[in-house]
Amino acid sequence: MKKGWFGDFGGQFVPELLIPPLRELERACETILPSPAFQRELAEVLRDFAGRPTPLSRCDALSRDLGFNLWLKREDLVHTGAHKMNNTIGQALLAKHMGKKNLIAETGAGQHGVATAAAAAKLGMGCSIYMGSVDVERQAPNVSRMKLLGARLIPVTSGTCTLKDAINEALRAWIVSQADTHYSFGTAAGPHPFPTLVRDLQAIIGKETKEQARRQIGRLPDAVLACVGGGSNAIGIFHPFAADPEAASVRLIGLEAGGTGEPGCYTSAPLNLGSPGVLHGQYSMLLQSADGQIEPSHSVSAGLDYPGVGPEHSWLQRSRRAEYHVVTDASALRAFETLSRKEGIIPALESSHALAFVLENPQAFTPDSHVVVNLSGRGDKDLDIASQHLTLLQGDATCAR
């Protein structure tokens, strides 16, 4: 397969001025990343700073209701509250070994920004975060966390003022600052080598899941589910299964955000509702107009709100190794509430999409089978948004009754 391509998808569609830093990163991925010394250092910081390994927890109450075993891979317990840290601490460490002094990153919901800022603080690196001005507004707590962690926050006011525009601006900034700066890309998408690098750093989720399943269940699970925005938590848990011939019977199911679900409304579901095209350096599935202009996306969960998706997911879909479905805002909110009530875990709205598919389609799973959902993040950050939708959280109304 051509380097940087996953079947028909991938590539390096960037201005020539970005080719040298991407080549430099490619070389680092081939030499520094696999070296035993680097891997030892990474394992140590993942354990002592990020808090790995994360547990594989059985949902006892929900499993009783569903008639099969529901397990959660607890990425919500990773430092800063989501799987993002697996990637950011790895890229920061790699950048440091490459001699880079600073990190730049885009962020949508702010989780990748916070995880980058924390990694930069830990390793003593400078950090600038590009964030759409609309997101700065709606994700205020994460903005404060980034600032507290010492990052410089740059609001982006071009285009739709959201994640895709923050990526444009970070790419522009990297053209200027590439000599001493690493672009810590937040998801398994973008120009080669980012889809491979981010996937390899997130693959620890799937590796741990396989080991834990063998130990706790006695075999591999029957199905693995994850939400898909850019797709890093999903590829992180899918890849070790997809790459393993012994795991060929494990169903891999990715869930895209369907927004409100009303016909004609914006979604964040390029695999189900988009078509192939080029954005942010890659050829992959994309929400676009007939003219090839990028469509705005929408989801109640800011972390899934992106019109593109990583190229490896496009390939897993086309080659039929994984299946992808759409889950609406309302379903995700119901799952958010259900997991909180029944299992004592507040899931991120992103991860709630994956959970919702299981809760609302139990017939899709065999009785007594074992189903793993990647709980990619915790939901404390979503309380404001959830409270606008869930009557349960609308304080005054409830108290008045």
Partner: protein, 258 residues
């Protein structure tokens, strides 16, 4: 009969001991109704080649001025199909050569073979695609070649000599040298590395060298040795036009310098 090639066009300016002028304008700017007249003004004011920008929602190689022009054009309904149709009727009245500049996705969605056919019919002689580096340009190059359309490479201060030579092996038309490590946009001064990049590009390519990004005044290239054979100006021109001033006024200082 085929028109004079892009390379010949720039070399012809050189034989008249002047630098060739390549204004860039976003299709449909400042208004779709006034765009044809601006194109004719640029042509009459001494443009050798005119680069027509196809608007894209996510222009990563561009600064705020071109991005805003792009946004306005999209809002006014400008797209590739309409632009090519319009140019097909305007081109026969123009003396300057025409080049399309645009990001890859709108071209890809239009269909690369259809693009080559329709661009040729619209009098276009070359394409510049800022997010399509050498390693990814095979399909577009294959579509353009039967029509004799040039795919103009972009190189910059961080493009090594070896990489320049790899581009040179496949390139035709001219080579676009990016003056700075940055995006398009007006800059008071060009960095010292611009002159060095021009010199390296002139060594690596047999094609003429056009310098762009940040260009607004003839002073900026006066001291360069060797000088670029052509200059491209975009943001400065768009700002000038947005302020309601004429294309002729903008071009005047460049005409005087010859």
């Amino acid at each position: 009969m085929r028109p004079i090639s892009l390379q010949q066009r720039i070399e012809q300016a050189g034989s008249q001991r002047r630098v060739a002028l390549i204004p860039f304008i976003t299709a449909g700017f400042p208004e779709p109704t006034s765009f044809p007249q601006i194109l004719r003004d640029l042509d009459e004011s001494g443009a050798d080649i005119i680069e027509i920008g196809i608007p894209f929602s996510d222009p990563v190689a561009d600064g705020p001025v071109v991005e805003e022009a792009s946004r306005q054009a999209l809002a006014a309904g400008v797209n590739l199909e309409r632009t090519l149709k319009e140019l097909a009727s305007l081109a026969p009245g123009l003396r300057a050569s025409l080049v399309l500049m645009g990001y890859y996705n709108p071209f890809l969605q239009y269909g690369l073979e259809r693009l080559a056919r329709d661009a040729d019919a619209a009098g276009i002689q070359g394409l510049i695609v800022p997010d399509l580096p050498l390693d990814e340009d095979g399909p577009l190059r294959a579509a353009l070649s039967p029509w004799g359309l040039d795919l103009i490479p972009l190189v910059g201060p961080n493009t090594g000599d070896e990489r320049m030579r790899a581009y040179a092996a496949a390139a035709s038309g001219y080579v676009y040298v990016v003056s700075v490590m940055g995006t398009t946009g007006v800059r008071t001064e060009l960095p010292a590395e611009a002159a060095d990049t021009v010199r390296r590009a002139r060594n690596a390519f047999t094609l003429p060298v056009a310098l762009g990004f940040g260009i607004h005044s003839p002073e900026q290239i006066r001291a360069m040795s060797p000088p670029p054979q052509a200059v491209v100006f975009g943001s400065a021109l768009l700002q000038h036009l947005a302020a309601g001033k004429s294309a002729k006024d903008f071009m005047a200082p460049w005409i005087k310098q010859k």
